[in-house]
Every structure is written in C-alpha cells, then in structure tokens.
Amino acid sequence: MIPDVLTPSVDGLSSVVYGVGTLGMLLGIAVVGWLLRDETLDSGSGRFRVLLVIPAFAALSYASMTFGIGVFTINGYDVEGMRYLDWLVTTPVLVGYVGHVVDVDRSVVYGAAGLDATMILTGFVATTTTGMLRWGAFAVSSVAFLLMLYVMFVQYPRRANTTTPERKRLFLRLRNQVGVLWLLYPVIWLASPVGFGLVSTLGTAMLVTFMDVAAKVPYTWVVHEHRGIFGTDRVSNDAKSVDGDKFESEVPTATAD
C-alpha cells in the first residue's frame, strides 16, 4: 500500500484540478511573501512566517496531489493522503492565527487548535473506515468542529487581549470566513463517493480544491489588507481586559492600512 501512495501517477483532469489548486496556493505564497518583504511591517508581530505555512504547505500538498503522490485506495475509495496531512497542519494554523490577531489567551488557542486537529484526524478516520466506526468518527469530527466553532465565536472574544477596532475587524473577517467556509466541508464529504456518492471523485476534487483555495488564499489577502496593524512604528496597544462577548472600543492608534 505504501509504495502505491508514493508512486506518481498523473490522472487526467484531477491533476489539472490539483495543478490549478497549486497555482492558487502559489498566489497565497506571493501575498505572504509580499508581507514578509514589506519593511514597514513587523513580521514578528504579524507572525507572517507562521502565516506562510498555510499557502506553502498547501502548495506542496497540491503539487504532490498533482503528481498523484500520497494517493491510496482503501475500501474501494481513492483517498488523497496529502490532503489530510495538509489539513492537519494548515487548519490549526488558520484557527490559531485568528486567535493571534486579537491576542487570545494561548490556552484557548491551543484548545481550538486541538479541536481542529481532532476534527481532521477523526475526519480521516471516517474516510478510511466503514460501518458504524465511519459514522461514529464523522459524528465526533462534527462535534469537534462545532466545539471549535464555539471556541472561536464565543471563547475567542472573551479571551482576547488586544482588541483595537482594526484588529477586531481583521479578527471578525478571518473568523467568519473560516467559520462559514468550513461549514461546506462536511456537506461535500457527505456528497462525495466516501459519503453518499452523489458527486464523483473528480467533482469532489474540484469542490474541495475550490474550497481550499477559497479558504486559504483570500485569508492571506485579508491579512494583507489589514497589514497596517502590524506596522513597525506601531507601539504595542494597551490591552484592556474585555468582559463578555462584546468588544469594547479602545483608543485607536493606527489606521487599518
């Protein structure tokens, strides 16, 4: 099984789809590279290198998939192993970076990231198993997803330490994108051959690739739009503890860009 996974095999349209996905991820790399080169920005404060992991690892993953690497067949289904590896690495980063924007307490961020990883891993289990275990894993994964959404939508605002209007806006935009876009993944899974088989493997690949690119590349672009909050001339904002889920406006000291 393992040799099969590592054997490159170009499979017509799927490779084209994954190739387009790879190109899309390269756009994200370019955006983050732009942020890293911008000397007016504090890349340490922006954690742009961490941000770079998202499109970079995704690009590697899609490049691998383009050449058919990491594909294995289990229970009669072709499974893209690199996709799950990609998700396992990049989705916690996406969730964690959302928390970083408003400086959420680390324990909460780790909690969200842990739930995210659990969601991915159980999703992988659901994909590679059959019967009750599959649905059980799917249920666990879904619960982890909901818990993660709870943490992001409820716990993050409560535990945020830096809530300037600009940071808050970036946080809201990133969080809402992630929260809304990811709702489609379980649906696509259910429609895929692994689920109810309503959509072909190619169709699933197109949908997932579209969603992946849509979830990752605009994510970096939005950060780029709000890059002003990571300016080097920016003094660290006075953080006021915020109680409840309502963001209190703090003294603004910089424009968003």
Partner: protein, 533 residues
C-alpha cells in the same frame, strides 16, 4: 480595474459573482453532475458571502459600535477603515462628523471653561479687592488716628488697588514729610525764640554796658577838655619864653659877629708882618746865595791858581829837560845846543814867575774866603732871628684862627638856638591849635555820648519788648509741638536728620528746610518733594 474594485463594492460583488458563476458553470460542464453543480454554486455563494458579506457585516457592525460610542459621547474613537469603497466613504463621513462634533464640543467646553475661569477670576478679584480694601482701611484708620509711620501694603496685582495704595502712601509720605518739616520748624521756632530771648537779654546787658560806657565817655571828655585847656595855656607860655630866647640869641649873634671881625683884622695884620719877614728872610737868603756863589768863584780861582802852579812846575820840568838836552846837543852840535839852553833858561824863568804869581793869588783868595765866611755866619745868625720872629707871628696867627673858629662855632650854635627856638615857638603855636581842636572834638564826643546814651535807653526799652514777644512766641511754638506730638512720625523729631531719614523721596527737601533754619514751606520745595514720588 484594481482601483475600481477597491473603490466600488458593487464592482467587487459583480466580479465575485462572475468568478463563482464561471466556476459553477465550469463544474457543471466538466462533471455533468447536478448535485455537484448545486454544491459548487452553493460553495461559490458561501465564498462570496464569506468574503464580501462578512466584510460588509463586520464593517457595519464596527461602524455601528463606533457611532454608538460617539452617540454615547466618546468622541476620541477614530472611525477609520482600509476600505475605499462606499462603506469606506461612509466611514470617513462619520469620522468627519465625529471630528467636527468633537471640535464643537471642545470649543463649547473651552468656552464654558473660559466662562468658569472668568467667573472664578472675577470672584477671586472681588475677594482680593475686598481683602486689599480691608487692609487699606485698617492702615488708613491708623494713619487717621495719627500713626503716620503706617503704610498700606500696596496690592501690586490689581492696578486700581495699586493706584489707590500708591496714592495713599504717597499722600501719607508727603503728609509725614510735611509734618516732619512743620515739627522741625516748630522746634526751630521754639529754639529760635529762646535764642532771641537770650540774645535780647544779652543786648539788654550790653545796652547797660553801653550806658555805663557813655557815662564814662562823658566824664572822660570833660576831663580831657580841662586838660586840653591847661595844655593850651602852658603852650602859650612856652611860646612866649621861646620868643624871648630868640631875642637874646639875636643880640648874642651880633656880639659874636663883632668878635669875629676883630679877630679877622688881627689875623690880617699878622699876615702882613709875616709877609714882610718873609721878604727879609728872602733877601738874606739871596745875600747868602751870592756870598756862596762868590765862595764858589774863589774856590774856582784857587783851583785855577793851583792849575797854573802845576803848569809852572811842569814847565820848569820841561826847561830842565831842555837844558839837559841842550847840554848833550852842545857837546855834539855846538851852536844848536846853545840855542836850546837860552830858551830853556827863559822858560825856566817864566815858570818861576808864574809860580810865584800863582802863590800870591792863592794867598789873596784865602783871605777873601775867610772874610766871606764871617759874613755868611753873620747873615745866618740874622736869618735865624728873623725866622724865629716869623714863627712867633705865625703861631699868633694860628691862635687868632682858633679864636675865629671858636667865634664861628659860637655864632652857629647861637643861630641854631635861635632857629630851634623859632621852630619851638611855631610848634607851640601848632600844639595850641591842636589842643583847641581837641577841645572841640571832646565837646562833640560829649554830645555824641549823650546821644548814644539816649539811644541806648530807647534800645533797652525795645529789647525788653522783644524779650516779652519772644516769650509769647516760644509759648506758641511749644503749643504747636504739643499738637504735633500727637502724630507718630517714622523718624525722631529730636534729631537734626529728622527729615533726612524720612521717606526716601522727601529727605532732601526736608534737610534743606532744616538748613534754612526752619524757613517757610515755600511752594517750590513742596513741589520738589511732591515730584519725587
């Protein structure tokens, strides 16, 4: 295109729809799967919603929060966005509104703050004024009660109060200076009155002295007058005596003149005698001279006779020699020798005659000489006698000269006496006149002394009046000093520098007033003191 996308939300929406629709259509064409296509369409809408919708919702929510904050009065919240589209413009409009509102409110706050500050200042000013006025009033009451040392502490912070305080202080300064000067003046007046009294008393004493002195003068002049009269009489006597002496000396002079004439005649006669005797002596002298000349002639004759004798001897010798030669020649030549012998004989005989005659002459001459010597002796004896007589006469003449000189001396002395006596008489007359003048002066002096006496008597009366007046004056000035003592001045009135230590500005003028002996407070000085403020 990018710019349009940045500036227009509608453009974004359109492009988003185009992309998702394209993706959906592409999906459908590739997969031919309805469910998949529906999912793709849904995914596209979700993606659009996730980016554009979420962004809009977030923008609207933050805008809402910020406008609510502004509505709640928090105008420090800057309403900004990175968006440049319609929503971005709404943001900037709201932000402009916020800033405008903030500046209005700030202006209103400032205006209110100013009003409050002005009110506070006015309140503070009123309090300051009241406090200063209270302080001023306290000081003014003290000054009014006579404590002129007091000054108000000038409130420099308020012009009006400063003007009032400074003016009051100046007024009190001037009042103090003026009172100090009046005080000094009154003291000086009192001292002056005392001095006047003392002086008047001294004048009184002096007047008495003057009266006594005039009495003395009166007595002295009387005495002087009497003495002068005695002097005049005595000088008149002196004058008469002197005239008598003069007359006596005149006769004495005549007598001496006669004596002088007599002695002159005697001397003239003696002179004639001496002259005659001198002529005799001269004649005898001539006789002696002639005899001596004769004697010399005889002496020469004697010499001539001796010479002749010598010659005769030599001739004899020659004849001897010639006879010898003739003898020798006779032997040799016969006849020639004979000639010689004859001549020799002849010469020999001549020589012998000559010798004889010479000897005779010599004898005669000796006799003559003896005779002349006798005559000379006789004449000399006579001459000596004449000389003796002449000497005697000369001595007599000398005596006469002495007499004449003595008479002259006498005459001179008498004349001097006469002149002196005349001068004395003249001087005595002058003295007499002087004494008369003196007597007149004494009379006048006596008159003046009488006048002085009368004046001194009047003066004494006047001085008594002055003493009385000065006493009254001093009493008045003492009253004035008592009144002034009720005022407390900052400087001691006892010291002469009373005015000098006064308020810095008025010191000089006060000092001048003191040096003027408490002169009147003329306007110029007062103005001077006033202008120093």
């Amino acid at each position: 295109m990018v710019q349009l996308l940045r500036r227009s939300f509608a453009a974004k929406l359109l492009v988003g729809f185009a992309l998702t629709t394209g993706a959906t259509v592409g999906y459908g064409l590739v997969t031919r799967n309805v469910v998949g296509t529906m999912l793709m369409a849904t995914a596209g809408q979700v993606v659009l919603g996730a980016y554009l919708g979420t962004n809009t919702v977030v923008s609207m929510r933050t805008l809402e929060e910020q406008t609510e904050a502004i509505a709640d009065g928090d105008l420090d919240v800057a309403v900004r966005t990175s968006r440049a589209d319609e929503l971005g413009r709404v943001y900037s409009s709201v932000d402009r509104m916020r800033r405008s509102l903030a500046s209005r409110i700030e202006e209103a706050d400032e205006a209110r703050a100013e009003a409050e500050a002005a009110e506070a200042r006015a309140q503070s000013l009123a309090e300051d004024y009241q406090r200063t006025a209270t302080e001023y009033a306290e000081t003014m009451r003290a000054v009014a009660d006579g404590d002129l040392r007091r000054r108000v502490e000038v409130d420099r912070e308020h012009d009006a109060m400063e003007t009032v305080g400074t003016a009051f202080n100046d007024a009190v300064d001037e009042l103090e200076v003026a009172l100090a000067r009046v005080d000094t003046f009154a003291g000086d007046v009192a001292d002056g009155a005392t001095d006047v009294r003392a002086a008047a008393e001294r004048i009184d004493e002096r007047t008495d002295d003057v009266l006594a002195a005039t009495d003395d003068i009166d007595a002295a002049t009387d005495e002087q007058r009497a003495t002068a009269r005695t002097g005049a009489e005595e000088t008149a006597d002196l004058s008469a005596t002197a005239e008598e002496v003069a007359a006596t000396t005149e006769s004495l002079v005549e007598t001496t003149d006669e004596a002088a004439d007599a002695s002159e005649e005697a001397r003239s006669a003696a002179g004639d005698a001496i002259e005659t005797m001198s002529e005799v002596d001269e004649t005898m002298g001539e006789a002696v001279d002639r005899i001596e000349t004769l004697d010399e002639a005889t002496a020469e004759i004697t010499e001539a006779a001796e010479l002749i004798r010598d010659i005769a001897e030599q001739t004899n010798m020659l004849a001897l020699n010639a006879s010898i030669e003739a003898a020798r020649a006779g032997g040799d030549a016969g006849n020639a020798g004979d000639g010689f012998a004859v001549v020799a004989e002849e010469v020999k005989g001549l020589a012998e005659d000559t010798g004889d005659r010479a000897d005779a002459i010599a004898g005669m001459i000796d006799e003559v000489r003896t005779e002349t010597e006798r005559a000379v002796e006789a004449i000399r004896a006579t001459s000596e006698q004449v000389s003796d007589g002449s000497t005697t006469v000369a001595e007599a003449v000398d005596r006469l000269d002495d007499i004449a000189e003595a008479v002259d001396d006498l005459d001179r002395g008498v004349r001097e006496i006469s002149d002196a006596t005349a001068e004395q008489a003249s001087a005595a007359a002058g003295v007499s006149e002087t004494i008369d003048d003196l007597a007149e002066n004494s009379d006048r002096t006596a008159d003046r002394a009488a006048e002085a006496d009368a004046a001194a008597t009047e003066q004494s009366t006047a001085v008594d009046a002055v003493v009385e007046e000065s006493e009254t004056f001093r009493a008045r000035s003492d009253d004035l000093l008592d009144v002034l003592a009720e005022f407390d001045l900052r400087e001691s009135r006892a010291t002469s520098a009373a005015g000098g230590d006064a308020a810095s500005g008025a010191g000089e003028s006060t000092a001048r007033a003191v040096s003027d002996g408490g002169g009147p407070l003329d306007g110029a000085e007062r103005t001077d003191g006033g202008e120093r403020r």
